[in-house]
Amino acid sequence: MNLNERNELYTEAKYLYLGFFNEYPPEWLLEKYVKVHDAYDVSASQKEIKTIGAIVKRGLDVEAVEYVMRLRKRDNLLTKKVEIIHYLAECSSRRFGDFFLEADIDWRAWVLLLRSLVRVPWCFVMGHWLIRRHGLA
């Protein structure tokens, strides 16, 4: 992997992580994201690779786009990359509260869940629109 490719992966990881966790990732996560691409063959079609690049460069809603891409084809490049980000994020104590409840929140859970579920139709519609608008794979 040459320096350009590594830098692209760093930029990509920063953007994907930011899209799901609203902050930039720690340095170790960026390093490991690149290392995963060394360890496994994360190859895909040129169109899929360009799609990832377009999402990052144009600052698109990655959650929405990934959602629709996954509905269309489970095994797509963007979903794999987002999964890699999540595997690494889950290993960080900083993200503990994103994956686990610290204490009982009882009725507030329903509020959070309903608020969260509103994003489902939003992501569905927005994802389709972004994919068509930007000619994504």
Partner: protein
């Protein structure tokens, strides 16, 4: 010449060695060892996740082993892919390959076998379960009793007693999760309604200690089951092998893969290849006990006959899985008892066309969230929120259907030494799952038919029936004492000699039967 050679150190091999302890017994085994675990990966996993800035080496792996399912078409069992558990299935595709389009089988070459990654369910077969076998419960009972004491089994005698058989030697069952505890209370209040539908719930019987036993400490509720092997509280046959070796009652030779045998009236010649490569080594014994795991035992028998044509039968349990929700528990943080071990058992009587079906109720807190997040038809952030809020409100029911013998389901040895396996998918009708879902609603536990999944054949890891026992065995069948038909000194002691595969977990019966066969073949120690 040795008195006995045992092939394999899994449930069958270890139990046979236990039965023959102190005799002249040599165990040959591939014997991959569990890795040593760094000292900083200890304690409660939830606490570690809360406190450690980077748990990647332990949960995902330095080589990102836990992510392998993102890059392969045939997924690895979630419990067997984490970095420290991966040794259980290390190298199997190179050393004991299987070729199949429709069977997700896997083989273990580890010391202790696939039981190093099991759920620990230990259940006695009743006479009804053994109906197709040439042995009955009374012949296995003494061995079940011995093993209950040796292994350490926790559970209780409850509504499931008619099917699990009364046992006075059980340790108290492990603590239930709040969701399971509440379920048992609600079930108790409406017990008869369930029974009228032929549905029974009770505590699982598990080889999981709740008290110290034979130098092993009780379960610590540390939630490490998916990530750290060799928890002293959860039995693995490796403990038996090590105990016997340490006591000088078994000679153990790891690093060897048995290829074939030659059976004569004077004894058995066994050819083994070093796992790391090298010239074959020949051993001789009066008796050979084959306990390499049903699939590998069948491979050895076919290779010994140089038979690349015969299709041996193969039995597997079709599986059905679905999550169950208790909406009243949404928003509850996980308690120490929210573990992934089997909490309860469900038994469904007289399922049409199938017979009795058994299943287990598991917690869902074992695997990484990322293992399941993207399988939900939701945006990732929404799925993550849902899993977070429902962790303590969700259980998983996994049903095992009895294995069905069909001519199209077979195993055959290829010229290249791989096994060709064909196993036509057996997708249950869904009637039982829908019936269970309907019954669970009576006590406000919810699921939906759209959530039912049917994992591929082979993924249940219960294989049996390639060389079945029979009163009048033909070629590639075994006598009631496990002796391979036509052979003088070769006995099959693992699931390959099972005459049927009921719904009930077969491991404990493999162990008891292996002890029985070992004593019949050689005499009690």
């Amino acid at each position: 010449m040795r008195d006995v050679i045992i092939v394999g150190s899994g449930p069958a091999g270890a139990s046979a060695a236990l039965a023959l302890a102190g005799r002249d017994v040599l165990m040959l085994d591939a014997g991959h060892e569990a890795p040593s675990i760094p000292s900083d990966f200890s304690g409660n996993l939830l606490d570690l996740r809360r406190e450690s800035s980077d748990l990647t080496p332990h949960l995902v792996g330095e080589e990102f082993q836990s992510m392998q399912n993102l890059f392969v078409s045939r997924k690895v069992n979630l419990k067997l892919k984490s970095p420290y558990m991966g040794y259980i299935i290390r190298d199997w595709q190179n050393l004991s390959p299987i070729v199949s389009d429709n069977f997700d089988g896997v083989v273990s070459l580890a010391k202790g076998g696939l039981a190093n990654g099991w759920g620990g369910g230990v259940y006695r077969f009743t006479d009804e379960d053994l109906a197709s076998f040439p042995v009955g419960y009374s012949e296995l009972a003494p061995y079940y009793d011995l093993l209950t004491e040796h292994v350490g089994v926790s559970g209780t005698n409850d509504d499931l007693e008619p099917w699990l058989i009364h046992d006075d030697n059980l340790q108290e069952p492990h603590r239930l999760s709040p969701m399971a505890q509440e379920f048992m209370e609600r079930y108790g209040a409406r017990r008869q309604d369930f029974h009228d539908e032929g549905v029974y719930f009770g505590r699982a019987r598990v080889a999981l200690l709740t008290r110290e036993h034979r130098g092993r400490r009780p379960y610590a509720y540390d939630r490490m089951e998916f990530f750290r092997p060799r928890d002293p509280a959860l039995y693995t046959p490796a403990y038996t092998v090590e105990e016997l070796v340490q006591a000088g009652r078994l000679e153990y030779r790891p690093g060897l893969l048995v290829q074939q045998f030659k059976d004569t009236a004077d004894g058995v010649e066994i050819v083994a290849r070093p796992v790391g490569g090298g010239d074959p080594i020949v051993f001789r014994a009066r008796k050979l006990l084959l306990g390499a795991g049903a699939i590998n035992t069948a491979r050895i028998v076919l290779a010994s006959a140089e038979d690349r044509e015969t299709r041996l039968p193969l039995l597997d349990n079709a599986l059905a899985c679905f999550p169950v929700f208790r909406f009243g528990r949404l928003g509850k943080a996980m308690s120490p008892e929210d573990i992934s071990a089997g909490q309860m058992m469900v038994l469904c009587e007289e399922v049409e066309g199938v017979g009795t079906v058994q299943g287990s109720f598991y917690g869902t807190t074992g695997p990484l969230r990322s293992d399941v997040l993207f399988d939900l038809p939701l945006p990732a952030g929404v799925a993550r929120t849902l899993l977070k809020l429902s962790a303590s409100a969700t259980s998983l029911i996994m049903l095992f259907y009895p294995g069905v013998k069909r001519p199209g389901n077979y195993l055959r040895l290829r010229n290249d030494g791989a096994l060709d396996i064909n196993y036509a998918p057996e997708v249950p009708t869904g009637a039982l799952e829908r019936k269970l879902i309907k019954n669970l609603r009576k006590v406000n536990y919810f699921s939906h038919r759209a959530l039912i999944q049917y994992p591929p054949m082979g993924s249940g890891l219960h294989y049996a029936g390639m060389l079945p026992m029979s009163d009048n065995p033909g070629r590639y069948e075994c006598h009631p004492d496990g002796r391979l038909s036509g052979a003088h000194g070769v006995h099959v002691i693992d699931g390959a000699c099972f005459s049927a595969l009921p719904s009930k977990n077969l491991t404990f019966t493999i162990m008891a039967n292996a002890m029985r066969i070992a004593e019949a073949a050689v005499g009690a120690s």
